[in-house]
Amino acid sequence: MFDPGQVIVGLEIGTHKICVAVGEAGPKGELTILGIGQCTSRGVRKGEITDTQKAAEDIRTALAEAEQQANVEIQEVYLGITGNHITCEDSKGVHPIASYDRTITAEDMADAVGNAKQFNCAAGNEVIDSVRQDYCVDDMTGVENPIGLVGSVLTASVHVIRGRTARIETARRVVQSMQVSVAKPVFNGLASALAVLTPEQKRQGVLLIDLGAGATEYAFFYGGMLRHSGVLPVGGDHVSNDLACGLRISIDQAEQLKREIGSAVYDAAAVRGQYYEVPGETGLEPRQISLENFQRIMSMRLEETLELISRDLARAETFGLAQAGVVLCGGGARTRDIEKLVYRIFSMDVVKAHTHAVSGPADVLANPEFATAIGLVRYGAMRLQTRARSRFGIRATLQSLFGR
């Protein structure tokens, strides 16, 4: 039987392309990607919508393509959010254990987490996602499940991802304008991580970097928990813009050259004195551009971006312990020699992402660009699962109370 509730759709409004992934969650939680719809994005800069009309047109095209491919009608989407307004930080919530016997219950846990979410939240911001890290009972740290422990103060450590309410609302309204509701906004970095990281990697310690066109998101996991995440609104667009400015070519040409001959590492010996012919635009003579300058500009930008990330990650205490290395996804992961550059900056093994534990067309799953959209579907599937479980839980509780 076809159950419309089990079709989950992820929508990523990216800077370079808008991507819709349609997935189906099976009864045991297995996920199948039914279709992908995509469209070049025009109204988005640095991960945020700047032109709602153009964005709406493009989203409509992408949704239509996905509907056609998956043969479903899309009613609800999980919306990926990114941009400069996102802040990711660890927050602590304290909850005193007031009960007579001082035993910690599930309610105490929920209260502590709730306090952590609200702590230090600036006006005009809202919590997009919050991920529990661990608990601290009195002075005992690193407790994963405190239920049943005895103590007087429970402190929950939560990684909270917040965003500007107005900007999330903008994206939401654009989507709603085409009669599609938004189930929940999700931080892109988290979604990508869900798609490409395995539980084993998360245990050992892994850093995911999503090199998008408008923004670069990153998420660091250790001990199975999200320890640090963030977004740097600098991406492939900046590389193209730098190239266009430095070499005096058009942005489109820069974009094309970046894909054709771009490299993340500046190899001075290999390119010294070499030139590359760029066809002239609008009837102008073809031009010679210096490959040396080309590579220098490009590698410098990528290096700076990664260094800023590495500096930010230094705040995560456990970063030095990561063993599973760095996983790259997003369009930037296709850059030649990007692994070398990442290795140089992070001194960790580098792999390109492959979407795991999802079935679907192989070419879709192997594409690093689709990681976020697929991750959004996976997020939705996990959310539905937890909901089903908790509903079951309440029913069980009620039965245990009154059913006897």
Binding site: D237, S240, G246, S290, R296, I297
Partner: protein, 465 residues
């Protein structure tokens, strides 16, 4: 020797006794030279703080700016090339002006043990003449500590690029260079601070640090810090050396000193300490300096600089009654490894009385302890110190043996180089205007004061040939 009226250490400002500097030998072998406008201002602050035993001089080509300085010996140079004016941000002109009076400089530096050249490397005199003076001092046999004050960010790209060039020159001229970023001071103070206070605060910070280093070396100490220690710490690590000093009073002064050091702009909010691979921490106080204060501070630094080879020092100076001065020099990224010969904590410091007695004994024996005494006729390289002989500098350019004509030619070449650099800056400046075009309509991405929407190469000042 040039008997010209505006040669070095001849009469520059009206208030000076003209012959004093020339005739009087440098008593303690320590000479502090503030070069240029900002160097002069800092020298003025140092002189005001009463640095007994060291000679403090402000030198400049600009007579007007020298006349504004009070309370410090001021000397003009480069009368031929600068004609009593400034150098107008022209490094080559500053260098030529300094070379003009070479003989006099050299004579002046003869017999000086340590020369501290303080210079604002963004300006023409500071960035041009400062490195030359440092080089001349080193050629004369002195050990040269360069203190380069980097301009505020708002001072513009010319000064910024001048500072980069001047700093490089100073590095090759001096034995060790410490950078002092003025922008760091701005970060420490409120933005609404009056400009004059901002500059005073910046100058004071440098002055305080220089004085504290001077005291560190010359004060009879319980845990002594010798010049060899300092030198070993700094040599070859120019770019990555920072220093900071704080002076605190009151009952909770030890804790307050630590807090202030952790927020100190030069230590980059404590980052420098964490990343340092070698550090020197010296505590000085009056007779009331307590053991727990010294121990607390040093222990805290052991924790903060856990990756660093930490050298410690403690000294008692009756003048500092009621005050506590903590000086920190931290370096990173160097290749020189320190032998683990840091002075161990003096057991005698466990009781205040014996500590004071020990200090008093040292004072009465010799006001300047003999590890600092300059051995007459000895080569600077052969000065025996408490921990060993002086290590040779990592990079010692051979002393140029030029005649007058060649020197002029060298200066000319430097002028050409600087002209070429300036052209490159101009083109970059033009790029800057168009560079954010694609992102012009969006909220700029700011990190650490940089607009990341601008191309990286433009912000880093890379010229595309």
């Amino acid at each position: 020797m040039n008997p010209d009226a505006s040669s070095p250490f001849a009469d520059g400002a009206p208030s000076n006794s003209p012959t004093e500097a020339q005739t009087q030998g440098p008593a303690a072998g320590f000479l502090v030279i503030g070069v240029g406008h900002s160097g002069g201002a800092i020298a003025e602050r140092i002189a005001a703080s009463g640095m007994s035993g060291a000679e403090v001089v402000a030198v400049d080509t600009d007579l007007t700016s020298l006349r504004l300085l009070g309370g410090v010996k001021s000397v003009a140079f480069g009368a031929k090339s600068a004609r009593g004016g400034g150098c107008g941000n022209d490094l080559a002109m500053g260098a030529t002006a300094a070379y003009e009076d070479e003989g006099v400089w050299k004579q002046r530096f003869a017999g000086v043990r340590l020369v501290c050249v303080i210079t604002g490397v963004g300006g023409g005199v500071g960035g041009g003449a400062g490195p030359v003076i440092a080089r001349l001092a080193r050629e004369a046999g002195a050990l040269v500590l360069g203190i380069a004050v980097l301009p505020f960010d708002y001072e513009g790209s010319l000064r910024r690029s001048n500072a980069a060039t001047g700093l490089d020159a100073l590095r090759s001229g001096a034995d060790a260079v410490i950078c002092v970023p003025n922008q760091g001071v701005a970060a420490m103070l409120d933005d609404k601070t009056p400009l004059i206070e901002m500059f005073t605060a910046a100058n004071d910070l440098v002055a305080q640090s220089v004085v504290s280093i001077w005291r560190l070396l010359h004060r009879p100490a319980l845990n002594p810090v010798s010049f060899a220690d300092l030198e070993r710490l700094l040599r070859g690590r120019h770019a990555a050396s920072v220093f900071a000093a704080v002076e605190v009073r009151g009952a909770t002064r030890a804790r307050e000193a630590l807090e202030r050091l952790q927020k100190h702009p030069f230590l980059q909010a404590g980052h420098m300490l964490v990343e340092a691979d070698a550090a020197l921490v010296a505590v000085a106080g009056g007779n009331d300096l307590r053991f727990d204060e010294v121990q607390g501070i040093q222990n805290q630094f052991q924790r903060l600089c856990e990756h660093a080879q930490l050298m410690t020092g403690a000294a008692v100076d009756p003048e500092l009654e009621g005050r506590l001065v903590v000086t920190v020099i931290a370096t990173r990224g160097g290749t020189v490894s320190l032998p683990a010969t840091a002075p161990t904590a003096a057991a005698s410091a466990s009781t205040g009385a014996s500590a004071t007695a020990a200090a008093a004994a040292t004072v009465s024996a010799e006001p300047v302890s003999d590890r600092l005494a300059f051995e007459e006729g000895g080569e600077p390289e052969s000065i025996a110190t408490g921990t060993g002989t002086r290590i040779g500098p990592m990079f010692v350019p051979p002393a140029p043996n030029f005649n007058e004509g060649q020197k002029r030619e060298l200066a000319q070449r430097q002028i050409k180089n600087s002209m070429r650099r300036k052209k490159a800056i101009q083109t970059l400046f033009k790029f800057d205007v168009v560079s954010v075009s694609r992102f012009a309509q969006t909220e700029p991405v700011k990190r650490n004061g940089e607009n990341l929407d601008e191309p990286t190469y433009a912000r880093r000042g890379i010229a595309l040939n």
